[in-house]
């Protein structure tokens, strides 16, 4: 007997004129892990929103344990034992983790008062039980995206839902965390829970799910047992044709450094421990430098520092030899730097503005004719981007109505079209389907070919390993390892650095001493001396390989 049974679900969005769900069927057995896959905009989130009562279907039936139910709003869903981790965070930023986790199911004392201690304890217990690393007293606003994602999962675990919906839960988690999560999920099914998971990472799907439903253009096109298909077959089902899987990173000779950081430090607000601790590295023309680490270890701060959104407390940043320390984003963009942020909803886009207005933010001044916008040129530019990057939407649709993947594609396309000499990508394929991700990879490599310097910040080890020429690992605000990516690096080695189990960075913070570089598995892959810690007074030429 199926636990969740959705039949002939239809949902039409008049705002965007999209049939997001068109007679979709979904049948999930009790205690199974059921994956839903599909291209961006296929209607996965919509279907789950309907199941969770956030949207109402125009027609169709939902049965839970064989009984037809009406789910008008999340209240109904919660009452029916359904819980959901949303694709975009639903957290109250000024509240603590414990408050967020217990909200709506608060721990009480004397019947009417909040019991903070109990809330803290209960949250702590879930965190410990499932192996997360969070402080229940921390404010959401101070967390990184990865930590927020963990909070979302803690939230749903705290709630003891019977049916768990997870909409792309792994996109900002690190490898180890994903593994923990999957173990958790498997445990949960043993406890009688049913799990629906949406993911674009087909290998993940294959490893965790029992069955998978494929959606395509608003329709459910296939249901398969995972042990009967492989990812090739799945992607064929998703996009209708087989895709060439995997991309090729050809050799490239890096040029001179485009961006260089010297001993950059950023202190934490409470003065506790530095958020960035003497970070030095450079990115050269025609080179992709990968940067990875667990969320909360300085990656996001680095991202902001490089784009001028956060001031550094000490150290220096140079762009092509020009001192751009603490320069404004405006200045940096004028200098030809582009940036794909990890926080795509709050920083990367304006959800209530139209797609076109989102597309022109960086190139706005190029459409001016005597102070006025040339609307035609602007629309042409916008339409070309949409076509070129095959984003299926209209220029005047509000950004907020797009699917998660489409939003990401628009940000990427905007930054890529800027013809910059330095591009920083932070989680560029977060939420993208396989085909789109492949496409983005090829575009990143294209940029590399056209001699742009690229800094790739990502939690996805496959991605970093696949794309980077060099690879850096950050832990607690420090660069703890720098590797030449010569194909010999293993995920396991990197993982050890990521978790702080290994640290080749011998020099103390502020110390002028030469840092020692980590190397891949003892293999002879030499590390250039252009990626070093320390050396506050050195200039760029010192850092270049020649």
């Amino acid at each position: 007997m199926p636990s969740v049974d959705m039949r002939e679900i239809c949902k039409y969005y008049p705002e965007s004129g999209v049939k997001a769900n068109d007679y979709v069927d979904l049948s999930v057995k009790k205690t199974e892990i059921h994956a839903i896959v599909g291209e961006n905009g296929a209607g996965k989130t919509t279907l789950m929103n309907i199941l969770y009562g956030l949207e109402r279907a125009d027609s169709g039936r939902i049965c839970l344990d064989g009984e037809e139910v009406v789910i008008r709003n999340p209240r109904d869903a919660v009452r029916l034992g359904i819980g959901m981790v949303h694709q975009h965070f639903k957290l109250i930023r000024p509240f603590t983790i414990a408050e967020n986790v217990t909200l709506a199911m608060e721990q009480r004392k004397y019947g009417v008062l909040l019991d903070r201690r109990e809330a803290w304890k209960a949250t702590e217990k879930v965190i410990a039980d499932f192996g997360f690393d969070l402080d229940p007293g921390a404010k959401i606003a101070d967390l990184t995206a990865g930590q927020m994602q963990q909070v979302e999962i803690v939230k749903i675990l705290y709630r003891h839902a019977d049916v768990l919906i997870l909409d792309e839960p792994t996109s900002v988690l690190a490898e180890q965390q994903i593994r923990t999560l999957f173990d958790t999920l498997k445990n949960l099914t043993c406890l009688g829970k049913t799990i629906i998971i949406i993911s674009h990472k087909l290998d993940e799907v294959m490893s965790i799910a029992d069955r998978v439903t494929v959606m395509r253009k608003g329709k459910s096109t296939a249901v398969r047992n995972t042990d009967e298909v492989d990812d090739k077959e799945l992607s064929r089902l998703m996009i209708g044709k087989g895709i060439t899987y995997g991309f090729k990173r050809d050799a490239s000779v890096p040029g001179e450094p485009v961006l260089a950081l010297y001993n950059v430090s950023v202190a934490e607000r409470t003065g506790h421990r530095p958020l960035l601790d003497n970070v030095s590295f450079s990115v050269r023309a025609g080179e992709i430098v990968g940067l990875t680490g667990v969320a909360g270890n300085g990656l996001e701060e680095l991202e902001e520092v490089v784009n001028g959104l956060r001031k550094v407390d000490s150290g220096r940043i140079e762009h092509r030899g020009l001192d751009v320390t603490n320069a404004s984003s405006y200045f940096l963009r004028e200098q030809g730097m582009a940036y794909v942020p990890s926080d795509r909803l709050r920083r990367g886009s304006s959800l209530s503005s139209s797609v076109l207005e989102n597309l022109i933010i960086t190139s706005r001044r190029s459409f001016l004719n005597r102070g006025f916008f040339r609307r035609k040129a602007m629309e042409k530019f916008g339409r070309e981007i949409l076509k070129h990057y095959s984003i299926d939407t209209d220029l005047y649709v509000p950004m907020g109505t797009l699917s998660g993947g489409s939003i990401q594609k628009i940000i990427l396309s905007r930054e890529l079209s800027a013809q910059s000499d330095f591009i920083m990508f932070s989680d560029p394929t977060w939420g993208l389907d396989v085909a789109s991700a492949e496409y983005i990879y090829s575009r990143i490599l294209e940029c590399r070919r056209s001699r742009a310097a690229i800094l790739l910040i990502s939690n996805d080890l496959d991605e970093v390993l696949g794309l980077s020429d060099r690879l850096m690992v950050m832990h607690r605000g420090k660069v703890v390892g720098v590797f030449e990516n010569d194909g010999t690096l293993s995920k396991e080695t990197i993982g050890e650095y990521i978790l702080g189990l290994r640290n080749d960075f011998k020099g103390d913070a502020g110390n002028d001493g030469q840092a020692t570089m980590g190397r891949g598995d003892g293999n002879g892959g030499g590390i250039d001396d252009n990626v070093v810690g320390g050396g506050s007074s050195r200039d760029c030429s010192d850092l270049s390989p020649e």
Partner: protein
């Protein structure tokens, strides 16, 4: 919209039947009153003018997330300064002096609102409250100036003397007070629209309002746009005040712009902060008021009854649910 309005009108009619002894007459004048003669129609159009300026001022501010609650004081002070400049230059050429006077009013409004914007930028002072408080103080200070130093000793009106003939704008629909500033108001709406939607600064300003993080990330100088929308907003309010002097009243009377600031907010909200939408919204507002006035003059309706009827219409004018409910029904069937 039509459905919402019909429900509102229906409720208003029900109320009139409850509150008026001659409902037929009251209904007639309430709804048709503003159109029964040139005089009423002209005054209806004329009273929409300050609402257009105030509405534009608010639309500019709100669409950039600058919460200007000081429109009241900005209009009033703009009017007073315009009158004062006109009075100080009794013999200047009408065109030059008139422009100087209105410009002075515009600057006054801009400065008053700009102060709030400046402190918001500098020290993150709350805009909503600082603009409100400054306006409340300004209203009282202008009251003092009108009844004190600038009072016309020759009349018992609590008002400045009348401005010289050459500054008075052309009346175009006599005997009503409608004057060419209606053209200015339309031009202003188009100009504001063009600025906001067809220039990069307007674009930057809106983006800053909608999502400052995104704007900063995109290389927009966000600090500028904490002040600019307030300055523009204040300037538009000041312009509305100045033109009320040179076009309609020819002097500044005590509290004569009373309520324009608040109604401007309502106008902008009905127009959903769209500069061109401000014109019909202001007309709608002015129409309701003209209808109430006509009903008071020609029927047994009093102020209070008119207020109750108007309140019902306001309650419903922005109600979306009636509309969306019907739309939903249509789609399903």
């Amino acid at each position: 919209m039509t459905i919402t309005l019909s429900v509102a009108v229906l409720l208003a009619i029900v109320l009139i039947f409850l509150l008026s002894d001659d409902p037929g007459r009251t209904i007639y004048y309430f709804f048709a009153g503003p159109f029964i003669n040139r005089y009423y129609l002209g005054n209806l159009l004329n009273s929409a003018i300050p609402l257009v300026f105030a509405g534009l001022g608010i639309a500019v501010a709100f669409s950039s997330s600058a919460f200007n609650l000081g429109g009241e004081g900005q209009v009033y002070a703009g009017a007073l300064v315009t009158a004062a400049v006109c009075l100080a230059l009794p013999d200047t050429n009408g065109f030059i002096g008139g422009i100087a006077a209105v410009l002075a009013g515009v600057i006054t409004g801009a400065v008053l609102a700009g102060i709030s914007g400046y402190f918001k930028m500098k020290w993150n002072t709350d805009l909503l409250i600082s603009s409100f408080l400054i306006s409340a103080a300004v209203v009282l200070i202008v009251n003092f100036l009108i009844t004190g130093p600038l009072d016309d000793p020759a009349s018992s009106l609590l008002a400045t003397p009348k401005i010289a003939e050459q500054y008075r704008l052309l009346r175009i629909f006599k005997p009503s007070k409608l004057n060419i500033s209606i053209v200015f108001s339309i031009v202003a709406a188009i100009a504001v629209y063009t600025f906001m939607y067809h220039t990069h600064r307007g674009y930057e300003m809106r983006i800053c309002g909608l999502n400052p993080d995104f704007a900063r990330y995109g290389g927009v100088n966000v600090n500028t746009y904490l002040v600019l929308p307030m300055i523009l907003s204040g300037a538009l309010h000041g312009l509305g005040g100045g033109l009320a002097v040179t076009g309609t009243h020819y002097m500044a009377l005590k509290e004569f712009t009373f309520g324009v600031g608040w109604n401007g907010i309502a106008v902008a909200l009905i127009a959903k902060n769209h500069p061109l939408g401000v014109i019909p919204a202001a007309l709608f507002f002015a129409y309701l008021d003209a209808g109430a006035k006509a009903a008071m003059l020609h029927s047994d309706v009093t102020f209070e009854i008119a207020a109750i009827i108007q309140s019902v219409i306001f309650y419903l004018v922005t109600a979306q649910a009636i509309f969306s409910f019907v739309k939903y029904r249509q789609r399903v069937s």
